[in-house]
């Protein structure tokens, strides 16, 4: 049994959110730079240039990349041989979020759903915990913006809808979203499980490194490429001003489902695709 103080978790969570709100991953920066070269729409290129300029300003001036610094979503894998000391997991994560949003001058974007009163410190975080083998803790921090989240869908398709039904739902979700989720986007697709697991799979898919196709199932890698090509012929383009760069990537994750069901979730992520991981 390895003992880990919850203070270490708080510190790690704090640092992850502070960094990811200002510095974008090289994979996303690379995809944007490629799109700037390949995009044929003038307005599209104008937008992509500003996006790349923004990445530099945020890093140099230590400013958040986007004013929507998100709801704090975390994927936490806790090794079953870990013994936490000094407190509990969820509280220590919330404390890390609280400190990051306070110390980093990040926007507090969490409120009571009915009264709309702001909680004031961007907590509670949305925490997906999984118990795994080993004596380590892996934390993925993902500040998720509201504009792209609002354009996401979950649908319970039927088995007869098949792959065509899945394609139709993804394309229809992206088409309906149009300019709203700040394209170019990354589209996370979760297939299977139950209603809620499909949505969690879709969100997990967003944390994958861009440009790495699904390595578990060649059918999914092919589906990702089909979906990306179709999405990029919609014409929406960067910010919806027109062009061929509507999505930078499509990531699909899948798990078995009930013989009666075909749950499909589509989670949209804007181009400020922030996520960072640490292993304790």
């Amino acid at each position: 049994m390895r003992k880990i103080s919850v203070n270490v978790i708080t510190e790690t969570v704090r640092d992850l959110f502070l960094e990811t709100s200002r510095i974008l991953g090289d994979d996303v920066i690379g995809a944007l730079a490629e799109a700037r070269v390949s995009e044929e729409s003038e307005l599209g290129r104008w937008v992509l240039e500003k996006i790349i300029e923004n990445i530099e300003v945020a890093r140099n001036e230590s400013l958040p990349l986007c004013q929507d610094t998100g709801l704090a979503v975390l994927f936490v894998q806790v090794g079953q041989d870990v013994h936490l000391t000094g407190g509990n997991l969820n509280d220590s994560i919330d404390q890390g979020v609280r400190e990051a949003y306070r110390d980093g001058y990040l926007r507090k974007s969490v409120c009571d759903p009915l009264s709309r009163e702001n909680t004031g410190d961007n907590t509670p975080a949305v925490i997906h915990t999984e118990i795994v083998e080993g004596d380590r803790i892996r934390i993925v921090a993902m500040p998720k913006g509201g504009g792209s989240e609002n354009m996401s869908t979950v649908k319970m398709l039927t088995p007869s809808d098949g792959v065509e039904g899945i394609i139709k739902q993804v394309i229809e979700t992206v088409r309906q979203a149009g300019p709203n989720p700040c394209p170019p986007t990354i589209v996370g697709v979760g297939i299977g499980g139950t209603m809620e697991t499909s949505a969690i799979l879709a969100k997990k898919a967003l944390a994958r490194t861009l440009g790495s196709p699904n390595g578990n199932d060649p059918r999914l890698a092919a589906l990702e490429s089909t979906l990306l090509n179709k999405i990029n012929t919609l014409g929406i383009g960067p910010q919806g001003y027109g062009g061929a760069t509507t999505a930078l990537a499509v990531h699909v994750e899948m798990m078995p489902c009930h013989i009666a069901s075909l749950p499909v979730a589509v989670n949209i992520q804007c181009h400020v695709a922030r996520h960072k991981e640490a292993v304790i």
């Binding site: 307005l43 300003v57 958040p64 004013q67 300019p179 012929t233 929406i236 910010q239 919806g240 181009h271």
Partner: protein, 186 residues
């Protein structure tokens, strides 16, 4: 790309009439921020017959909630939120004299019709470039609803803020114009 038009607030019906969907604009002058809850409160005040906390005559609203200003800066990062959530309130504000709106994303047909009738304009600002856009803001003043935090109404002085006309007074819509028929996709 067409050359950007340099405009200064306050926007007038005459200025708006001269704008066309797809025009790139560098806007300078004064705008106010307001988003979901501020819109609800403004409309509640108007519907009660009260004066809203800020006159909307000739005003331009930026749908935005900035990050807190770090020490030595006038504002944190700032950029547009999705405008469609304000659609239900917008015709009331346009009737009260609002001329310009800055946001991102699609507007309802009711808003587009109200823009046409009231000789106003809806500009798109780029989403997700908020560190860059913050450099166009030179001064900030708290105006109303301070209790709303980031959602409060603030007056911003902006210089050469990059925008594009989405909906003009003739009912055009940039987002619709760029879409390609997609029946072949299924």
């Amino acid at each position: 790309m067409k050359k950007a038009l340099r405009l200064h607030t306050p926007l007038t019906g005459e200025i708006c009439t001269g704008l066309r969907t797809g025009d790139v604009v560098l806007l300078s002058g004064i705008v106010i921020t307001a988003r979901d809850v501020a819109h609800r409160r403004i409309c509640e005040a108007i519907n009660r017959g009260d004066e809203p906390p800020v006159s909307l005559k000739g005003e331009t609203i930026f749908y935005a909630g900035p990050t807190p200003a770090p020490p030595s800066r006038v504002i944190g990062s700032i950029g547009p939120t999705t405008s469609g959530r304000m659609d239900i309130y917008t015709p009331t504000l346009l009737e009260a004299g609002l001329k310009g709106m800055i946001g991102k994303g699609k507007r309802s047909s009711a808003v587009r019709e109200s823009i046409r009738q009231n000789h106003a304009v809806y500009f798109g600002a780029m989403g997700g470039v908020a560190a860059l856009l913050s450099q166009c803001v030179t001064a900030v003043e708290m105006i109303a609803y301070e209790d709303l935090g980031t959602e409060a109404i603030r007056r911003l002085d902006i210089v050469d803020f990059p925008l594009i006309v989405i909906n003009d007074i003739e009912g055009r819509d940039l987002y619709e114009m760029v879409m390609i028929g997609n029946d072949h996709l299924y």
